[in-house]
């Protein structure tokens, strides 16, 4: 979880990712950020996030992102 | 339920406003250009029921040349001129048909000025003027659905709702367009468009009567087959319908030709004369058969195209004479039901007096 937040802060400094729960709808992360984020997550956790996973529900908060990562790690 | 009523009221108001806009935006009878003249017959549907004995139908030559009040003045016979600019036979047919629903004219005089007009030469001015004046819904639907006109759905719609066609007139609306909503025809001349102005014909010596006499001598043996003038089929069809209609209504259809300066007037006369004979119709041509001819120096308002009031007076005399010689029509002058007619006549005569006619 901490690692996820660290990556997020690299991408978009100055946002409190512990509390934000609407990263996509509030347009805090745009599609470019998402792409950067996914590339980093893939590298960091050795997973493969596919376009099918790119839905707002998976990226709206740091927690949601972490859930996605753990799910993919298990597979 | 409440909503249904609301919607209903909303639509009723919408329709009312659209009807008002139709009147305002239609140029027919407005102050605009050539459209203005159609205003002459504005009160055709306001005439007392079964009060008209003679119906005159035709194009601009009729409403500028036949003044029913003139004839009423002479012999007390009531008439109305249901004529609009460039009126084609289709318009004439439906005018007559519609007229019979409210009136019972003994004589229907159909002018032949448009007898050689081809179907493809109909003008919008002509069609709009006649159709817009068919006030009551069903006459209008009748003519719109006539096969000969061959109107598309959108065109029909635009005839029913002239605002669709003329909405851009918002740039040219005058107070006249608003006034025509509330005002009845100012003074009813029974479809006659009064004009006093004179503009003489350039060829002052025009005398159809003399020319025709000369022609008759030269062509003892008439050979109209050789002429390239032909009455189009669509006109023939409608004439047949009219003959049938008039027979049903115990009325007589008469073809008339108004005085013209047309170079081919004689040839046209020959063709129509022959045609009338075939159909068993009376035909009277005010060009060739009357010795006291129109004076094209004083009797025309626009260099020989249309007659003015002086011309109309003369034509009125011919028609009066013709009607009393050929038909047994009642003199209504003394009848109390026709008080209104006498009032109209008085106003008409006063107008003439003002103009020193």
């Amino acid at each position: 979880m901490e690692e996820v937040i660290k990556i997020l802060e690299q991408i978009k400094p100055g946002v409190d990712f512990n509390t934000e729960e609407n990263l996509i709808e509030d347009e805090i992360l745009d599609s470019f950020d998402i792409v950067t984020l996914v590339a980093k997550l893939n590298d960091e956790f050795d997973i493969e996030i596919t376009p099918a996973d790119l839905v707002p529900e998976n990226f709206n908060s740091a927690e949601k992102i972490y859930e996605l990562v753990t799910r993919l790690e298990e597979e | 339920m409440k909503n249904l009523i609301k919607a209903f009221i909303f639509i009723i108001i919408l329709i009312i406003i659209i009807c008002v806009l139709n009147r305002v935006f239609s140029p027919v009878g407005s102050s605009e250009g050539g459209w203005y003249v159609a205003g002459a017959m504005r009160d055709i549907y306001k005439q007392q029921k079964n009060s008209i004995d003679v119906l005159y139908v035709g194009d601009s030559n009729v409403y500028t040349g036949i003044s029913p009040l003139e004839i009423y003045n002479n012999i007390g016979v009531t008439g109305f001129s249901a004529s609009t600019p460039q009126q084609d036979i289709i318009g004439s047919y439906y005018f007559i048909k519609g007229f019979f629903k409210r009136q019972n004219p003994k004589v229907v005089m159909l002018e032949t000025g448009e007898f050689f007009t081809l179907r493809e030469n109909f003008t919008e001015l002509g069609m709009r003027s006649e159709i817009d004046y068919m006030n009551s819904g069903f006459d209008k639907l009748d003519i719109l659905n006539d096969k000969c006109l061959n109107l598309t759905f959108a065109e029909k719609l635009s005839y029913l709702f002239p605002v669709i066609r003329f909405h851009d007139r918002y740039q040219r609306l005058t107070e006249f367009d608003i006034r025509k909503l509330v005002q009845n025809a100012e003074i009813s001349y029974k479809g006659y468009l009064y004009e006093f102005k004179t503009e003489k014909y350039k060829n002052k010596s025009k005398n159809n009567y003399k020319e025709y006499k000369k022609y008759e001598e030269e062509h003892k043996k008439k050979d109209i087959e050789k002429l390239d003038l032909k009455i189009p089929e669509y006109i023939d069809e409608k004439i047949d319908l009219l003959i049938k209609l008039c027979k049903e209504k115990n009325s007589e259809l008469v073809l008339i030709t108004m005085p013209v300066t047309d170079d081919r007037a004689i040839e046209k006369h020959e063709v129509i004369k022959e045609y009338a004979k075939q159909k068993g119709l009376k035909y009277v041509d005010f060009n060739m058969e009357i010795e006291d001819p129109i004076n094209w120096e004083t009797d025309t308002q626009d260099k020989g195209d249309h007659l003015n009031i002086r011309g109309a007076e003369k034509v009125g005399r011919y028609i009066s004479k013709y009607l009393s010689e050929n038909f047994d029509l009642e003199n209504k002058k003394e009848k109390p039901e026709y008080k209104k007619w006498n009032e109209s006549l008085q106003a008409y005569n006063e107008r003439k007096k003002e103009d020193n006619v």
Partner: protein, 526 residues
């Protein structure tokens, strides 16, 4: 049948009655039949293409689902984790092949019908040969429904939705008539349920729907078609004009296309709303955007979203792209450039796709590339801009700065529109140059500059007033007002005055019918 025709209104009216009277089970069938009638009236024998498209995605989706189901059933029986994974990967591969076939079928129909003329022409030009070019008429909305078709099978592939087993229902998803004219591009997950369930047509759906339609007609007929008179004239005679007139024509065209496109969308969304079916929004006041990115999130939204989901993300996450990203990460470290290079390829594909989608021809490709370059430059120089703002102590939260951002964005968009509207690139470029030339200044001062192409003073007044109304409503919406809700709360008198006002503005001030050459008739004869 155009959506701004009386026939469309009658069609809709009859459809509402039939839909309302139909038993619940058949309501969606009514929509299907009506949509096919609508389609066939417009496209005639080309209707066969949408049927082919429907058939292809119907089969593709079922096949994909079947492969998936078979694999998971087999997987249940297997204990070994490794083997399970292998089985899954095999299934995935198979599914992918089926998907790609499905996509190719749909794309090739689009390419043959829409782009073959251009492609063959270029090919002939390149190799100095002469392959005959077929001129096809386009089936109605092919650019839209093809994208919908692809999104459907991709979504099934991704497991986002289940394949629909009823062929008629798949057909309705593609052919649903309001979205055929100019979008919005619907998605199965949001649209399908609404289409198939029996919707209740109520007083509210009728009034709300027709109000939205009215607003659309107003924008289209009063604003767009009017300003088009000026725009068309100047673009036709562009060599004669410079400076202000060219600027007016370009800005006018931007206004025209916005009013026309968003108006058209309002009409079809309104029509759909009557049936209780809400189509996706396609516009969200694009001219309040403060950047080009934002503009494209507000303009033709459903196209942008489609490109994002089905081109941008897949390409960004493709092996090639990821490789570029990890390499650039090493080189540029945390700098902005690593972020930019990560999307360089996928963004290129998006804008190429966007350009080509708009039409066949080089100018559309350039149109796409124009936005690509602007966006990339924007990304590259973003940190620089921030630095400048810091150094100069520019306040960014004030109105004037926001206005500057909006105007800057609009300026870029207008230039894009110039490329889009001009007959070819040469003309676009030459018009762009003549903006900076000034001659015949007197035309501006004697008003001649504004009265081109049959525009009269009255038209200018109407344009100004109606554009201000549009602006006013946009500002209110931007602040969160729901126009129709607000209107519904007003007293009946005020509400009706507004509605009659809109209706009669359209009837009287709309540009339609032959009225615009009445003058020539009137003196035709007496």
């Amino acid at each position: 049948m155009l959506i701004n025709s009386i026939e469309f209104i009658i069609f809709l009216f009859v459809l509402v009655i039939i839909y309302k009277l139909m038993p619940k089970r058949f309501k969606w069938v009514v929509l299907l039949i009506a949509s096919y009638i609508f389609f066939a009236l417009n496209s005639g024998k080309y209707t066969v293409f949408i049927i082919l498209s429907t058939l292809s995605i119907y089969i593709t989706a079922l096949k994909i689902d079947k492969i998936g189901n078979n694999a998971s059933q087999k997987a249940k029986a297997i204990e070994n984790k490794e083997e399970k994974k292998k089985l899954k990967n095999e299934a995935k591969k198979k599914k992918k092949i089926v998907l790609i076939i499905g996509i190719i079928v749909n794309i090739s129909m689009l390419v043959i019908l829409k782009y073959s003329g251009f492609l063959i022409g270029e090919f002939n030009h390149l190799f100095k040969i002469n392959i005959p070019v077929f001129k096809f008429l386009l089936p109605l909305g092919i650019s839209y429904y093809t994208l919908q078709a692809i999104s459907y099978i991709v979504d099934v592939y991704r497991g986002k939705i289940k394949a629909e087993k009823n062929f008629g229902k798949v057909a309705l998803f593609l052919v649903y008539f309001p979205q055929l004219v100019e979008g919005p591009i619907g998605r199965f997950d949001r649209l399908a349920d609404q289409l198939y369930r029996p919707n209740e047509i109520t007083y509210k759906t009728i009034t709300y729907g027709s109000q939205l339609m009215l607003w659309g007609y107003f924008k289209k007929m009063v604003i767009a078609d009017r300003v088009a008179m000026y725009v068309n004239y100047v673009f036709e005679n562009y060599t004669e004009y410079t400076f202000l007139i060219i600027i007016l024509a370009i800005v006018g065209y931007t206004l025209q296309i916005y009013a026309e496109f968003s108006g058209g969308i309002d009409i079809v969304r309104g029509a759909s709303e009557i049936f209780g079916i809400e189509l996706d929004k396609n516009f969200e006041r694009p001219f309040f955007a403060k950047s080009i990115d934002e503009f494209w999130r507000r303009w033709n939204i459903t196209l942008g979203a489609w490109l994002k989901e089905y081109i941008f993300y897949p390409i960004s996450l493709s092996k090639v792209s990821l490789k570029i990203t990890s390499i650039s990460n090493k080189y540029f470290k945390k700098s902005n450039l690593s972020k930019v290079s990560a999307v360089a390829l996928s963004l290129f594909c998006v804008w190429l796709g966007n350009g080509i989608w708009h039409g066949s021809g080089w100018k559309y490709i350039i149109y796409g590339m124009y936005y690509y370059v602007i966006m990339m430059l924007g990304k590259i120089f973003a940190p620089l801009g921030e630095k400048i703002i810091k150094i100069l102590k520019i306040k960014t939260e004030v109105f004037s700065y926001k206005l500057w951002q909006i105007l800057r964005t609009t300026g870029f968009v207008c230039i894009g529109m110039l490329i889009f509207r001009a007959d070819n690139l040469k003309i676009a470029f030459s018009m762009f140059k003549s903006i900076f030339k000034v001659n015949h200044l007197e035309r501006i001062f004697n008003g001649e500059a504004f009265l081109l192409g049959g525009i009269k003073v009255q038209d200018i007044i109407i344009l100004i007033i109606s554009s201000l109304i549009m602006l006013y409503i946009s500002i209110k919406q931007e602040k969160g007002m729901k126009v129709r809700d607000t209107l519904a709360k007003q007293n009946i008198l005020f509400r009706w005055i507004i509605l009659y006002g809109v209706i009669f503005s359209i009837i009287i001030f709309g540009i339609y019918g032959e009225g615009y050459n009445v003058q020539s008739f009137i003196y035709g004869g007496f």
